[in-house]
């Protein structure tokens, strides 16, 4: 465990090698294998660290590598505090879980990428793996960082890598635009995060998570009765940060656009790891948030609204990756819903299962896109089951998992969230409203996921023809020099990660079986017990809130949600497999809502009209002011100066210059007498020096 600092460093080294040397010199395979090897090594170290953590009583281990910022006196609320930051890393259950997710899924995605990226030019491959490794470096720093500032380094770093990777095909304008969008939107969130960090230091005088939690646990809980206090402010700011990184309302708009990046990137960054950083951060500060119930309520509302809105948009999207993107937003909403109702364990659990099945789905979609020669539109697919059986099967597993059908992983985590929401008593919102919205979202989820599966893998093939005389679909522009021979299964490099992830998506849920199943499965709620120490302050005794309900009621809820999900699946099956034309009729009959959904509620347009136009408009206004008023003033000043200077000039020329010239003339006349001493012969000057020495030595001789 002492060497956990090595875990982020290894991909960092890989990135450095690939970036500094690889882009010029490495072959494609070498770059990929090097990056994957570094990730594999990091995975191995993570597993070792995890094993050691299991054997550790404290479930907490902190390693300080070096001092970063030496103590600086800074103002805090308690007078002058000492601001010092170390490069220190924490291993506790939460970070250990994240560690395994990041290294494990990261490793699989690296391997997958070797196959996915092989048609890129040589330097591009090394650049890609450099970025990917760099991302893992920062993500691991974020996860392991034991104080806000180290986390912030990782936080910004993953933002940077996300930008770089979204814009990986930077020649494509849409890709570079999407990268910039992601970067700028994230900056808004970071603004909140940074303010939160400032406030944390100002309040607690430290940035260490554990110390902050410890200090916060001694402060009163800021319920509605107590009022909106400093902890609530901190939490709100931090949550703004989280909305940016985790794509929640109102800052979710960047994530769908981020699908311009290569698919492994979408899987790793925009589904499995980076976007969950916000959730992770909220969980990490669970103690703070539990002391601010009003903010918790806000989190829950934002979460559930995001989940619902994204799910509805996802219903009508036709781009396979965009469906998944909105699905990701929606699932992240679920996670925030969970944190909002205080179920941090459930949030983390859903984070983990989501990482599995969403990475799986993305990689599967990548495989489909790869096999369809960069085709992303689902309307051009269909019936691909027979061409790419492995992809179809694994993606179907992923879809079942996300829909929440037992015993696949999604069922356990999502059900846990819904169950906890059901039990939650809100501050502003009436009880069960959040739950109701969550259930609706669950149904929508099941529907759009199976819509995706059905449109892609079932039904008739609707894509372009291939072979001799095939219609050229403009796909030759993408620079892949190879001819397309129809949809095909992807290479081994890509399918093996799919299979591994599918197994994970199937089985990951069993670490968090609900207590209701105690009778048939003795190891219930393992993960929540495991994670619990991370969510309470050190001193606080581990009093788990008892969420009790009758066994029957709990099972009923589960059955209800499963039924809902099955309903969604059935609806999708009816509309897209049995009677494909039904979907179009439905769309026509609901033309208005359909158009709204297709245009994503016009949010982008809204932002464009308000924020972007507003900024541009005000900039134009300011420019006008600048030109008319400021420049006018400057020009006026200039004219005045010219006029004044003319007066001054006259004075200068005759009076001042006259004096100066007179002086110079006098000097010049006088210097004729003296200038003979300046012979220009250096040796004469040296002679004078020697004369001085002579005088001095003579004085010395005589005076002694």
């Amino acid at each position: 465990m002492e060497s956990i600092w090595l875990i982020p460093l290894l991909p960092g080294i890989g990135a450095a090698i690939n970036g500094l040397v690889g882009i010029r010199f490495f072959g494609k395979r070498l770059a990929g294998v090097l990056a994957s090897f570094m990730m594999g090594w990091a995975l191995w170290l993570s597993l070792v660290a995890f094993w050691e953590l299991l054997g550790d009583e404290d479930r907490f281990h902190q390693v300080t590598v070096a001092s970063w910022i030496p103590p600086i006196p800074l103002d805090t609320v308690d007078g002058i505090g000492s601001f010092s930051v170390d490069w220190s890393f924490t291993l506790d259950p939460l970070s250990a879980m994240m560690l395994l997710i990041v290294t494990g899924i990261g490793f699989l995605i690296h391997i997958y990428s070797i196959g996915y990226i092989e048609h890129e030019p040589r330097g591009g491959v090394a650049r890609f793996f450099c970025y990917l490794n760099l991302f893992c470096f920062f993500m691991l720093t974020l996860v392991l960082g034991s104080n806000f500032l180290v986390m912030f380094v990782g936080w910004e770093g993953v933002g940077l890598c996300s930008y770089l990777l979204i814009g990986y095909w930077y020649q494509k304008k849409s890709a570079s635009d999407a990268g910039k969008k992601a970067f700028i939107v994230n900056r808004i969130g970071d603004w909140g995060f940074v303010l939160g960090v400032f406030l944390v230091f100002f309040t607690f005088g430290t940035l260490d998570f554990r110390a902050v939690a410890e200090a916060a646990s001694h402060m009163p809980v800021e319920t509605a009765a107590v009022g909106f206090g400093v902890i609530s402010a901190i939490c709100l700011f931090l949550f703004i940060g989280a909305t940016g990184k985790s794509a929640q309302i109102p800052l979710y708009v960047w994530l769908p656009d981020a699908m311009e990046g290569p698919t492994p990137v979408s899987a790793l960054i925009h589904a499995a790891t980076m976007v969950t950083a916000g959730v992770y951060m909220v969980c990490r500060n669970a103690v703070l948030f539990t002391h601010a119930p009003m903010v918790m309520e806000v989190v829950a509302i934002v979460g559930v609204l995001t989940a619902l809105v994204a799910a509805t948009i996802g219903l009508v999207q036709t781009d396979i990756k965009r469906v998944l993107a909105y699905s990701t937003v929606s699932q992240l909403g679920y996670m925030f819903l969970a944190t909002g109702v205080g179920a941090f364990g459930a949030a983390a659990f859903h984070l983990m299962t989501h990482a599995f099945f969403k990475a799986l789905l993305f990689l599967g979609s990548g495989s489909v896109i790869h096999g369809m020669n960069e085709e992303q539109d689902m309307r051009r697919m269909g019936g691909l089951r027979q061409y790419m059986p492995v992809t179809a099967l694994t993606m179907a597993i992923g879809a079942v998992a996300i829909a929440g059908i037992p015993p696949f992983s999604g069922f356990f985590s999502k059900d846990e969230i819904l169950f906890r929401t059901y039990l939650h008593h809100g501050v502003f919102v009436p009880d069960k409203v959040l739950w109701g919205l969550g259930v609706v979202t669950a149904m929508l989820t099941a529907f759009y996921m199976f819509r995706l599966i059905n449109m892609t893998f079932f039904g008739a093939y609707r894509g372009p023809a291939w072979g001799h005389g095939a219609e050229d679909h403009g796909h030759d522009e993408d620079g892949h020099g190879h001819a397309w021979h129809g949809p095909h299964e992807s290479p081994r490099w890509m399918t093996i990660p799919l299979v591994v992830l599918a197994v994970g998506a199937m089985l990951a849920g069993f670490v968090g079986v609900p207590i209701a199943f105690e009778a048939v499965w003795p190891w219930t709620a393992t993960i929540e017990h495991f994670l619990h120490p991370s969510f309470v302050a050190e001193g606080a005794h581990a009093a788990e809130e008892a969420h009790h309900m009758s066994l029957l009621g709990e099972l009923g809820l589960m059955a209800f949600s499963v039924l809902i999900a099955l309903g969604g699946i059935w609806f999708a099956y009816r509309n897209y497999v049995e009677r494909p034309e039904a979907a179009e009729r439905l769309a026509e009959s609901l033309a208005g809502p359909h158009r709204v959904l297709t245009n994503k509620y016009y949010v982008d347009e809204l932002y464009d009209a308000t924020v972007v136009r507003g900024t541009m408009g005000s900039a134009g206004g300011l420019w006008t002011v600048d030109r008319q008023v400021v420049d006018g003033a400057v020009n006026g000043t200039g004219w005045t100066t010219i006029a004044a200077s003319w007066v001054s000039h006259v004075l200068d020329k005759y009076v001042v210059d006259g004096l100066v010239n007179l002086t110079a003339w006098l000097c010049g006349e006088a210097s004729y007498a003296f200038r003979r001493a300046q012979t220009g012969l250096i040796q004469n000057y040296a002679f004078v020096t020697l004369l001085g020495v002579f005088a001095f030595v003579t004085w010395f001789l005589v005076a002694r």
Binding site: R675, Q678, G680, Q683, A686
Partner: protein
């Protein structure tokens, strides 16, 4: 005469120093003037080394090392100037290098 004291070294140093000074004053070839300066520096070094040995203090030797470094720098830059000058004027006679007076 037979017992060599630091005074002997100092006087040797003084004599060599003055030889250097005379060289600087008498010769007109800039390069030889530079060499005379090197002689002066060496005279100083002899003094430093002798007194370092006498006073059992390494500072003298350290200073000699620095003097040698300075001499190297001086030679490099000085000779660079001579070369540059020679390229333009085709002379190294110091009496012809005097147009910057007045």
């Amino acid at each position: 005469m037979l017992e060599i004291t630091p005074l002997h070294y100092s006087l040797l140093s003084a004599a060599l120093f003055m030889i250097g000074v005379i060289g600087v004053l008498v010769r007109r070839n800039v390069i030889i003037i530079f060499m005379s300066i090197e002689l002066i520096l060496n005279a100083v070094n002899i003094n430093l080394i002798a007194l370092s040995d006498q006073l059992q203090d390494l500072a003298g030797q350290v200073f000699v090392v620095f003097v040698i470094a300075v001499a190297a720098a001086e030679a490099a830059v000085g000779l660079g100037i001579i070369i540059a000058f020679y390229r333009n004027k085709e002379t190294v006679n110091i009496d012809e290098i005097q147009i910057m007076r007045w």
